[in-house]
């Protein structure tokens, strides 16, 4: 293929590109199971779906069993204590820009498949540490994952 122009690019201002953007916004439906879970958080409870067939529970919550492909209609309340199964100290924000370090954990709960990615804190926090969900004050909860403020080492 021949060169599109004779001149080479000597300045990014002269680069032969066209800028465009996709400015879309969404309002995602949490779903039957998501709503049940999030309303639970608002009341300071961690509710997880439990399959009536195989007995598996799931986090993040889902309305169907991955194992059995059956609808899940019953929920059980978990103790708010879990285990740090993975730990990362993030030096970037959501957009990938440098930011002050924040600690994220993948918190798992006994008898539950999966877990929650959330903030975690506490002296000597490491993989294997026990952590407890610290909920926001009831008046400040909005029915989102952030109704849990963080997980604190016990």
């Amino acid at each position: 293929m021949s060169m599109p122009m004779k001149e080479r690019i000597t300045s990014v201002d002269r680069q032969r590109t066209w800028e465009g953007e996709i400015p879309f916004h969404y309002e995602y439906t949490a779903g039957v199971s998501g709503e049940r879970f999030l309303r639970g958080l608002q009341r300071g409870k961690i509710l997880v779906p439990k399959c009536g067939n195989c007995g598996r529970s799931y986090l993040p919550p889902r309305a169907y069993c991955t194992n059995c492909f059956l609808e899940i209609t019953s929920y059980v309340e978990l103790k708010p204590t879990g285990r740090v199964s993975a730990l990362a100290e993030s030096h970037v924000d959501f957009q990938g820009r440098r930011s002050k370090p924040r600690t994220f954990a993948f918190v798992t709960f006994a008898g539950v498949t999966g877990g929650l990615v959330h903030f975690a804190e506490g002296k000597g926090l490491r993989i294997g540490s026990s952590v407890r969900a610290k909920f926001k004050p009831a008046a400040k909860r909005k029915g989102t994952l952030l109704d849990i403020e963080t997980f604190v080492k016990t």
């Binding site: 993040p60 991955t66 990362a88 100290e89 993030s90 030096h91 994220f104 989102t144 952030l146």
Partner: protein
């Protein structure tokens, strides 16, 4: 007995961090022209189906199917897009051939990712809006979490992962298709910019741009037209629950199951039977995890990092640059060139069998594998 499928031609263009002269369509056209020349086929007459592996958000263009036909020579013909990695696209091509849709199929995959100004935003859109995006944990954080757990469970040390990076960057120095070759000291890698510790900048590949077109044909068509193809002995792909939420990190289920299926199809026993391996290294620890998922011990993996071994002679994604949906196609391309003996500076000796694998990246649990051979 199912019909054998062969790769009768490959073509590629790009393999640079940024291709500033060619548009996405022109890039595809260049790779397609070369592949058809290599295969000795006329797309307007000989090719019965055209497949492009593409994802709308990376294109910045919705219903990206609409921009596929012309530059592949597929206008007015059966054309489809597969929103998945290139090896999955090859799987679809095999199905088209075996089901009688077409005797000859072209599979295109590309990366024009330097056009995407907000790469992190596109990655973030792949995350669950309610349960992942809420805390602001992006895909680097997910990778850092999985990496921490993998290191803990397998006893993998920082220094070992730095050896993975060093090996890839060094091998890439001999590959003309690799954009990120370098001779690095382990300390430079150990202390590179922290992203989501333990994940550091050099643990994840930079992006690169390229297009790869692979032409497949049924064994009977290839014989009739006297083509010396590269045989596809096995191909498989699996999708598991996204991210590692569903299970352990010692093995990646999608890779383990894809691998086992490919070995069964090929009638082979283990990875040592291949002369060249191009295994997904979308993060340093993923290379180790993927190999362990395919039955290699960690000690075995570390031994494979030495110069002159069968593992990732191309320099992998860490050395070549990540090519988004073309990542698997690149690995297959390297394998085809290796078995033909035309891989260039990184050509291995006496390659009869080659194996490639891919993973679709965070937060997916989707991977694919393929076994290739010549001359038996």
């Amino acid at each position: 007995m199912v019909e054998r499928v062969e790769i009768i031609g490959v073509g590629f263009e790009g393999f640079r961090p940024s291709i500033t002269d060619l548009s996405t369509r022109e890039l595809m056209y260049e790779a397609a022209s070369k592949a058809y020349h290599d295969a000795g086929v006329d797309p307007r007459k000989d090719i019965g189906s055209f497949i492009s592996c593409t994802e709308d958000l990376w294109e910045g263009w919705s219903i990206a199917d609409e921009m596929v036909p012309d530059q592949l020579g597929g206008a007015g013909r059966p054309v489809c897009t597969v929103p998945a990695d290139g090896i999955v696209g090859l799987g679809h091509a095999i199905m088209h051939i075996r089901s009688g849709v077409a005797d000859v199929v072209a599979v295109e995959a590309h990366s024009k990712v330097a056009d995407v100004l907000d790469k992190t935003a596109v990655e973030n859109l792949a995350l669950d809006p309610v349960f992942h995006r809420a805390t602001g944990a992006n895909s680097d954080v997910l990778a850092g979490l999985e990496m921490s757990s993998f290191m803990e469970e397998t006893g993998t040390k920082r220094g070992e992962l730095s050896q993975v990076v060093r090996s890839a960057k060094r091998k890439a120095m001999r590959n003309g298709r690799a954009s990120y070759g370098a001779t690095l000291e382990l300390e430079e890698i150990d202390s590179s910019e922290p992203l989501a510790l333990p994940l550091r900048r050099l643990d994840r590949p930079e992006f690169a741009e390229a297009a790869v077109v692979i032409v497949l044909a049924s064994g009977s068509w290839a014989k009739r037209h006297r083509k010396d193809g590269v045989f596809i002995d096995g191909l498989s792909w699996r999708s598991a629950t996204p991210w590692f939420e569903a299970g352990g990190v010692k093995t990646a289920r999608y890779m383990q199951d894809s691998y086992r299926s490919v070995m069964k199809q090929s009638g082979l026993r283990d990875l040592s039977q291949f002369d060249v391996l191009e295994v997904d290294d979308s993060y340093s620890f993923k290379l180790v995890q993927h190999l362990m998922s395919m039955g290699v011990s960690k000690v075995g993996v570390m031994g494979m990092l030495k110069e002159g071994t069968a593992l990732n002679p191309s320099g992998g994604s860490l050395g070549t640059g990540h090519l988004i949906e073309a990542t698997g196609s690149h690995k297959v391309l390297e394998c085809v060139l290796q078995v033909r003996g035309t891989a260039g500076g990184n050509q291995a000796k006496g390659v009869g069998r080659a194996f490639a694998s891919s993973w679709r990246g965070n937060p997916t649990g989707a991977g694919a594998a393929i076994a290739l051979s010549v001359g038996n």
